[in-house]
């Protein structure tokens, strides 16, 4: 196609999206759309895969058998999400093995919250409740994604995430209704997680300037997502008697949440592999990929 033709076709495509049009895997799409979409879904898939590692650390240390089983089930869900999302990426032209190569070589990213260590059982509750809550705000907005195969998968993912939030809230409630030491576990974890949680939805780039919003890959700007998270969860945190140590945090008269500017430099450093647990987590994945390589070979030999 001539460059001019491509341009007019891209303009048509954008118009189609603006009118609410949906795109399927075999439809023509501009290179920029495909590239941005693929990178976004790939990062989502990486995050699901890496996101189980902080929780995996606690399977053996979970306080009861019931908690151990629930945590294992949640981890299975998240790995399942990664599998589904890597399928979406593969149909956009990048096979799963290439995604894993890039992830392990540090060439692609995963979400900031999965670069931090989990120090106590309080972390497990805060992650399952609040990290998943922040994630579900973004994920719900993705149900309206212009790329239909992704939006369809998000339906199943959101459905499973709703269990996870409940599981996390249940863990937190058990601790805040326990001994003062147990209450303190949650408060201490919350103090450490609040910064990363506020960074989670990204810098407040205006939706009108966000190419991801223009292509309708995302239907919500970063700040709108953060506001929705704060609106939904700050009251739920405070009603348990927990404290949020941000002197600027308040809902103003216009109903907008104000807060201390998150550390965007930290966010940038962390997602590019310089978080406190980034390399340890990647090392774990590198090791396990090498260790289970024989399983793939055996399976393949048997299936052939």
């Amino acid at each position: 196609m001539e460059a001019e033709q491509v341009e007019s076709r891209a303009a048509e495509f954008l118009e189609y999206l603006e009118a609410g049009g949906l795109v399927e895997a075999h439809d023509w799409m501009p290179d920029e759309y495909r590239a941005r979409l693929r990178k976004f879904v790939e990062m989502h898939a990486n995050s699901e895969l890496m996101g189980v590692l902080p929780e995996r650390d606690w399977i053996l240390r979970a306080p009861t058998l019931q908690r151990k089983l629930a945590l294992t089930a949640k981890i299975q869900d998240e790995v399942g999400h990664a599998q589904l999302l890597y399928r979406v990426v593969a149909d956009l032209g990048k096979p799963r093995s290439a995604c894993l190569d890039d992830l392990l070589a540090g060439r692609s990213k995963f979400h900031n919250v999965f670069h931090y260590p989990t120090r106590t059982w309080g972390d497990v509750g805060v992650i399952a409740w609040l990290v998943d809550a922040a994630a579900i705000v973004s994920q719900k907005a993705l149900l309206k994604c212009s790329y239909a195969p992704y939006a369809r998968i998000m339906k199943k993912i959101c459905w499973e995430e709703s269990f996870h939030i409940l599981h996390g809230r249940d863990v937190v409630l058990a601790l805040v209704t326990g001994t003062p030491a147990q209450f303190e576990l949650v408060q201490e974890a919350l103090d450490r997680w609040w910064g990363p949680l506020l960074q989670f939805h990204g810098t407040p780039i205006p939706a009108s300037e966000d190419p991801m919003v223009r292509w309708r890959i995302k239907s919500q700007g970063n700040e709108a997502a953060r506001q929705e998270f704060l609106d939904g969860y700050v009251p739920q945190i405070l009603e348990l008697g927990l404290e949020l140590h941000d002197p600027k945090l308040r809902r103003n008269d216009e109903g907008v949440w104000e807060y201390t500017e998150p550390d965007w430099e930290e966010l940038k450093a962390v997602v590019s592999g310089h978080g406190p647990a980034s390399q340890e987590r990647l090392d774990f994945r590198r090791r396990s990929r090498a260790e289970i390589e024989w399983i793939g070979r055996t399976v393949l030999a048997e299936a052939a």
Partner: protein, 99 residues
């Protein structure tokens, strides 16, 4: 979780309850049908959310997506029948009122 050269994509269709239509749910990548069944069962059935699954090799699917209607065959659709004026006339002739 790495794919192999011989891996095949299986499309998964899910029936939520008996009697309901099967709807496309997603796909799994597997070396053969046996593994595809295990993956599909884990992905789409472990919470009893499905009453049945269909697994179909992607390359067995033949998709048609163009349905031209050059002659605008309206008589096949409800919008091909505009009965309002005629109904009015028929009622006037019969001297009846709309029920």
């Amino acid at each position: 979780m790495s794919e192999n050269a011989t891996d095949t994509v299986f499309e998964v269709f899910r029936q939520e309850r008996k009697g309901q239509p099967f709807q496309h749910a997603g796909s799994v990548l597997a070396p053969d049908l046996r593994f595809a069944e295990i993956y599909a069962r884990e992905q789409y059935g472990r919470r009893q959310e499905s009453s049945a699954l269909w697994l179909v090799r992607r390359d067995a699917i033949d998709e048609l997506s163009d349905f031209p209607d050059e002659f605008d065959l309206k008589y096949r659709r409800v919008d091909g029948y505009s009965i309002k004026a005629r109904l009015k006339e028929a009622r006037e002739r019969a001297g009846t009122q709309p029920s």
